[in-house]
Symmetry: C3
């Protein structure tokens, strides 16, 4: 069986698809961040476009609605001067009974260059990457509970900008780890980058059994989980969990795991607070913390554009990564 990396990297170790952070070499993650760094200035100067992908066609294939993620990919593509097609799969040919593979084959036949895929099924982007023509790159924009690799990359990029050396850092990821593709991808990225200590914090119902096998420490109590950490990553609590079997009530969840100023005091004095958004104020995080001086939540959004520009341009050029030998 092919592994994700047989698919993700070409024979010189360069990025070809971006499906999952898992198993990628540290040097490649650093190369993505270095490339993003070079684009970060692009988003701040007057004319924001670079002509790297001029004439290329990027297709946003979103089987799950996500205005925010779709928008960041669309912006990143346009700033690389690519043409962007948004294909809303809910209203497309699949509703006429066409299979996923036939849909892919058809759009591929239009000589497009990249698919940005969001899908409720874990593994869908991997499946597509396995079947597309050799010149097409696939970027995973979130698949089921599996992975959200560009989110993880923008998170570690944000951490690197504030904290530098990962080998000195303690990072806590707080909330619904069980259902979170974001948490899974973050854990892999942090591990690859040599993070000193990764903690996951949440109620027992929302921490997967055996999570320690990923190289993290599990905490069921917020205060001890946050003690002495450099970085706090809060996860979004999906509405559908709030009144279900997973947590007793939104109110109690906030009381136990909501990040307030008092709780934040457990972390290091210069700890940063992160969240993938959109935030539920008063559910997983207090507004004062979300809008406070330690919050870097909006910086994450900005970095999301630069990271997506980096991944798109690297995957499309097939020649920007480090040689991995």
């Amino acid at each position: 069986m092919t592994t994700a990396n047989d698919l993700q990297l070409n024979d010189r170790g360069q990025l070809r698809h971006f499906l999952s952070v898992e198993g990628l070499p540290q040097a490649l993650l650093e190369s993505i961040m270095d490339t993003a760094e070079s684009f970060a200035s692009v988003t701040e100067q007057t004319v924001k476009k670079v002509p790297l992908l001029r004439g290329k066609t990027i297709v946003n294939l979103f089987f799950e609605t996500s205005t925010r993620t779709r928008t960041t990919f669309e912006l990143a593509a346009k700033r690389l001067s690519a043409d962007v097609l948004n294909v809303n799969i809910a209203t497309s040919a699949t509703t006429k009974g066409e299979s996923l593979l036939d849909t892919i084959r058809n759009i591929e036949a239009m000589h497009v260059d990249m698919f940005v895929v969001r899908h409720a099924q874990s593994g869908a982007p991997h499946f597509i990457a396995h079947h597309v023509a050799p010149h097409i790159s696939v970027i995973n924009a979130g698949d089921g509970r599996h992975a959200h690799p560009t989110q993880a990359m923008l998170d570690v990029f944000t951490i690197r900008k504030h904290k530098g050396d990962f080998t000195q850092l303690k990072v806590a990821i707080v909330g619904d780890i069980l259902h979170s593709r974001v948490a899974r991808s973050e854990i892999h990225a942090l591990r690859i980058l040599g993070t000193r200590e990764i903690r996951v914090v949440g109620p027992r119902t929302l921490l997967p059994a055996g999570i320690e096998s990923l190289g993290v420490k599990a905490y069921y109590d917020l205060d001890s989980g946050l003690e002495g950490v450099d970085v706090i990553i809060m996860l979004r609590l999906q509405r559908e969990r709030m009144n279900g079997a997973f947590i007793p009530s939104e109110h109690e969840y906030y009381a136990r795991f909501g990040l307030t100023g008092k709780r934040l005091a457990q972390a290091k004095e210069d700890a940063i607070v992160m969240h993938p958004g959109p935030i539920n104020r008063g559910v997983e995080i207090d507004s004062k913390v979300a809008d406070g001086s330690r919050s870097v939540i909006l910086q994450q959004v900005t970095h999301g554009i630069a990271i997506r520009m980096a991944v798109m341009s690297m995957a499309m050029r097939h020649d920007s990564g480090e040689k991995m030998a």
Copy 2:
């Protein structure tokens, strides 16, 4: 409290946001029309684009659906060479419980340059302008019953092209003044430009009490309201008013306030007929008049592109307005 103009103009009196016509200096309105004049030729030549806003990102934030208005803003932006993002708020993060301000903060963090906002709530664009980062401009594309300033500007631009000097003109605005943001903005624009006489004409149920305080004359009879006017601006009668408490019936409304050829004869011989569209043929206007030689309704649409190009480029450059001292 900040007034709209504290927000709309920078300290040199230049346009920064465009939220309302109310209280703007006459010279600025004339500057907008002069700039539009320079773009009007752009829409008629072969290659229609100018590179003024190349590399800029304009976001159409439409909380109310309006294909027509959204399309004119999108076209105007593209003809200025900007990148355009259409964000359909009905399907976006606000449905996940995110607040308006969080939505704005997030899109803003993607380093966009302008929000074009349409919202059912009066004051929403003002609220957004109050909170956005300093480099971002906000254009009101219609808010509740409050204002629709680009519509008013394209209307006075159309009048100026046909009639020149406003101080000699009698203008009648006919229809549902009560619910019309278009009428409110038109009255302000016409007043600022020194229009000799502004009349509002409609049934008592659709003229706001105390409307005379805006400097207009109220008429409850169409024939006397149109007598001797140079310009007739018909308003659209919203379907939801037609069988409600406001008018007895569509048929009776047309009999009393519909613009027919016979009624048009009350106005000056060279009077022009305007309408913001979409028109209800046989409700507020007879087809023969709408399509007749005095109608400038389609010219209004054309001018709408030029006016929006003018407002967008002036707000974005912050340096095109007259110095107001």
Copy 3:
């Protein structure tokens, strides 16, 4: 009464609108294919764009949803460097009671250059072409049961690439001829190009009475219909026909008219298999045939971009056709 060609061609016989293949001169069809040939390489090189329609605005006016067809037109327009506006008519002003003609007049007033029209009513693009301003071109992207001329052109383009001389060819069109605008347009195109023999194959309920008057032979049996043909064009069986009065059952339809490897053996050894997509695997065609070596179905999709680029650029320039005298 004006005929389609009075509308479609200018007085020098050049393409002005593209509404129907019917009645067009053979030289014009060949000119479209030659132009497409010149663009075909464009879709294979690295930077795919040509600046032919830079600064032009093309409006996709889709009254019927079709992601696939809309996408190919959008891609073709972008590769010609045009600006593209997608107007979803279901949510536009027509829902406010505006007439089709008012909608057209309004978008036209925005100084656009081309309408690509899809409509459930036969004749709608013809109606629009009859009423638009002189500088605007109309392309029919499928109207009712009437015509789908760009589909027919990409089909004959695909045939020409594989088979060359039409006067030597036997072509079979198989399936629901009765409801198919694709079949009607294909028959016209094949006839104009001098195809030796055109067969239509299907159950009596799905072949129109008097179809022979179009110059085709009717077959009610698949094996005899395919005997010795060079080209097989399978039509999509619409879901709504499957359990209706037209065919007894999906299963029986496949048994009698589904293209299997065994059936394909009736055709010439080097026969090609075509389908406009999306395909219903196991209904009108066996997966092995659809994905087999004789299938050119995905090539049709690729050629669709080149044909649409050709038609758009020719209609817009009004000077690329042959002089017809």
